[in-house]
Amino acid sequence: MKLSEQLLSAKEIAVGIKNKTFSATEIVSDTLGRIEKLDGDIHAFLNVTGDQALLRAKEIDEMVSKGEDPGILAGVPIGIKDNICTRKVATTCGSKILNEWKPPYDATVIEKLRSQGAIVVGKTNMDEFAMGSSTEHSAFGPTKNPHNIKCVPGGSSGGSAAAVASGMVPLALGSDTGGSIRQPAAFCGVVGLKPTYGLVSRYGLVAFASSLDQIGPFSRDVDDSVLLANAIMGHDPLDSTSLDIDTPPIKINSDGGVRGLRIGLVSEFLEGISPEISEAIERACKYLDAGGGQVESCSVPSVKQSLSAYYLIAPAEASSNLARFDGVRFGMRVDGKNAEEMMVNTRTAGFGDEVKRRIMLGTYALSAGYYDAYYGSAQKLRTLVIRDFESVYQKFDVLLSPTTPTTAFEIGAKIDDPLTMYLSDVCTIPTNLAGHPAISVPFGYDSKGLPIGLQVLAPALKDDLTLKVASYLESARENAND
């Protein structure tokens, strides 16, 4: 699919609307038109809220005409992953069990977006309850990769990544529990940031694994991710894990490039990666070197065990978080002879296989007699990962790795092999265990024309550093065109 070259960035849209170069209504109409044209093939959206978006656009236009400032995202259309609660708009989590449930409240991020003038145009497809790496586990059918519709867009935020990559929207929100923003960003050739845990409120994000989940932006360029991150960051009294600190807006000064930055190339993340991605890493190292960065190889030994720790902790938390989908208060209900049977029937019919697999895994990991061996050991490993990162960050400002070991795979290729599917998150999972920020930034294509994503990792609260390095890597694209 040929992607349009004349797409406006979020920044350009906001400026243009404030300057009355064009109206929010025009922008939203264009956006809805593009979704209409493209989404039949891609299926990035589960629900397009066109009428509400147009109403909101009118409000933004009125504000502008009255000389009011609608905010840093004035009139910018945005897609929202369908596990983020939107008041009176169905929030499905890609699952049948929610049965088009309409939350009575907005997630904190939605309120923040609204207060900055953004316009929600729809809810994006995802692996059911964010469990998956391909968006094939959506109960409503897979999303296709805009670069090749035979391929997956990655997951679980595949709908958001594809919506941005195809140019339907300039921005989208996703959630990242083990790579669910960065991996689809890499597969779809867009920027995806997982902020430091606690920087963005989780209130209204339907929990998968509470200690790992984090909402973050998708955009086509790094600047737009900065813009969106600035709109959604900040302390939220409704989320006890939200960091109670000042979060001044991130500004990246790209003048100095990466001069003087110590950049660690994590050897463990290079094992088993495809040759073309390996080449991309080499090119990136050279480019960083040319920009004055000091790239050196380094080791974070415990990341190798991260995958196993993650696949105990995340399902354990999920098994508890997903208990409330029981047919009693909301969503689907399949009757039974008594309450217990009703719950069993509802959950049996409502959840897909991957969700059931993880609930069972998590239930087992927490069971009496197994807790210490599984959940307990996994927590110890998690501590070890944090310590390993701490020690490597004594020597390095940021770390570099591929986002994924391969580029996008074909739809159906891994669906029957959960373990291989899980391996596509091997480079992204350690960040979630540590609660650190990491970004995926596009860096060229493989021979099949599929995007390659590179990952920049940094210690907690150094989100700006990941964005700065990503911005520099992004500039390689322009330089290559010169």
């Binding site: 596990n83 983020i84 609660c85 929030t91 989590c93 929610l98 449930w101 939350p103 009575p104 409240y105 997630a107 989780r202 209130y203 209204g204 994000l205 339907v206 929990a207 694994a209 509470s210 200690s211 009294p237 409704l238 989320d239 006890s240 894990t241 354990a316 938390e317 098994s319 508890s320 208990a323 409330r324 989908f325 029981d326 009693v328 208060r329 909301f330 008594n338 309450a339 217990e340 719950m343 239930t363 927490l366 069971s367 009496a368 807790y371 959940y375």
Partner: protein
């Protein structure tokens, strides 16, 4: 008697609702009653995406309770207790598990016995289901209604050591614990409204040196009386099983108020695995020295101190009466009345016998008015019966006893009027009066009754008898 060979071993788990203004995780009002599902929000309904935020006052109340129970207050954590139940919105309960806020305390009973407190931890309450089935139990119900007003109400669960040795002691423990809890201001301790709930772990063993027997947990004990009955039934049941050569199966048993017996709910073999794990949505609590000290300093006087004070000032008085007085939170009023020079004996009698039935109103009685009332009874201006009637009116609508007595017509009859009435009655009943003169006590009451009837209750019984005595000669 075989029962004498066995010693019961009892440990109690007491859940008490904290009287915070709002619930434990959200801003919904924490109020008893209300139309079903009116004190609810997305958070206490456990809707997807919502998160808990800990109510600081609940922590402070829990610390007060810990301090009052001589516990060590420690940094603590929340865990999730996972099990499916329709009245539990999230299908897990947020509770404290291996790191509770209060540990290792004790409660001294008025009898001098010390009962260990293993822990007193914070947790959330569940909603309330009413089942439309026959047995009232969920597994046999064909429909259920759930009221989530109570969901997310803060609770403190107080777990005693297995130090209790009889049903009476269990009752003493709960009474004293309740009085202490209420005195801290952390709870209103109303068993009848379920703001104080008791589960009893009961086992028996052959003598005080034998190892503990297998225990059963008795649930659904809704009053002190039920507690005593449930424990007694359970002790008897266990002894019978053992005497018949059987063994006790560790299980949860439900106390049935109608049959006064306990029935098995589930045994340990089929017991739930709660899959406890640390609550990832809540940071640990570390109250810190300063806060702990502040709570200690601000703790109001507790029942033992209050009882000692009453004893010291009152001088006499029965221990049981003083315990009840403090338990009912009427000791402040009582001491106030004493300081106004009123008669303690009468005051305590009126407080415990009459005022206690309208406890809320009794606590609000004006000290001066109440002292005046007791003074009127003491001086004979009012008979005991009249005093009770005036008190009833004071409790009902307030006001000064003088005015109430006047409005009820109790002002006291002028003695010449009374004498006239009595003379008339004596003349009408000469035989009876002869018997009275001969010392027949029963006839006294007859005369008092007749006088009361004639005066429509206005006469003072004491004065009537005095007059009768003077007519003897």
């Amino acid at each position: 008697m075989t029962e004498e060979r066995y010693e019961p071993v009892i440990g109690l788990e007491v859940h008490c609702e904290l009287r915070t203004a709002t619930k434990l995780w959200c801003a919904c009002p924490n109020e008893f009653g209300g139309e079903p599902n009116t004190h609810i929000c997305p958070i206490c309904l456990g809707l997807p995406g919502t998160l808990p935020v800990l109510n600081r006052n609940a922590v402070e109340y829990a610390m007060r309770i810990g301090t009052a129970l001589n516990c060590e207050i420690k940094p603590s954590k929340f865990h999730r207790k996972n099990y499916f139940y329709p009245d539990m919105p999230k299908d897990f309960q947020i509770s404290q598990y291996d790191e509770p806020i209060n540990v290792q305390g004790y409660l001294d009973l008025p009898t001098g016995i010390r009962i260990g407190i293993e822990r007193a931890h914070i947790e959330e309450d569940t909603g309330k289901s009413s089942h439309l089935g026959k047995s009232g139990r969920i597994h046999a119900a064909y429909g259920a209604l759930v009221d989530y007003n109570r969901a997310g109400v803060p609770l403190v669960e107080i777990v005693s050591a297995p130090d209790i040795r009889s049903s009476e002691q269990a009752k003493d423990y709960v009474s004293e614990l309740r009085a202490v809890l209420v005195a801290t201001g952390a709870t209103d301790g109303r068993m009848e409204e379920g703001s104080l709930r008791v589960d009893a772990n009961v086992s028996v063993r052959k003598g005080p040196d034998a190892p503990f027997g297998t225990r059963c947990e008795i649930k659904n004990v809704n009053s002190l009386r039920s507690l005593v009955r449930a424990i007694e039934y359970e002790i008897k049941r266990q002894i019978e099983v053992l005497e018949d050569g059987g063994r006790i199966i560790q299980q949860t048993r439900h106390f049935n108020e109608d049959t006064l017996s306990t029935v098995a709910l589930r045994s340990k073999e089929e017991a739930q695995d709660y899959r406890y794990f640390p609550e990832p949505d809540l940071p640990p609590i570390s109250p810190g020295e300063a806060w702990i000290n502040k709570v200690k300093e601000e703790l109001p006087p507790l029942p033992p101190q209050r009882r000692a004070k009453v004893k010291e000032i009152f001088g006499t008085g029965d221990d049981g009466q003083i315990i009840t007085l403090v338990e009912q939170d009427l000791d402040g009023l009582f001491l106030g009345v004493l300081s106004h020079g009123a008669d303690g004996e009468i005051a305590i009698r009126r407080l415990l016998n009459e005022a206690a039935s309208q406890i809320e109103a009794a606590r609000k009685l004006d000290v001066k008015d109440f002292a005046a009332l007791i003074g009127m009874e003491k001086s004979g201006k009012l008979s005991a019966t009249q005093c009770k009637a005036v008190l009833a009116e004071m409790l009902e609508s307030g006001g000064s006893p003088l005015q109430i007595a006047a409005s009820l017509g109790f002002e006291g009859m002028k003695s010449n009027e009374l004498e006239e009435v009595i003379t008339q009655i004596i003349n009408d009943n000469p035989d009876a009066f002869e018997r009275f003169k001969a010392g027949d006590e029963k006839v006294t009451q007859f005369f008092v009754g007749q006088v009361m009837k004639a005066t429509k209750g206005k006469a003072n019984g004491k004065s009537v008898i005095e007059f009768l005595e003077t007519k003897k000669s």
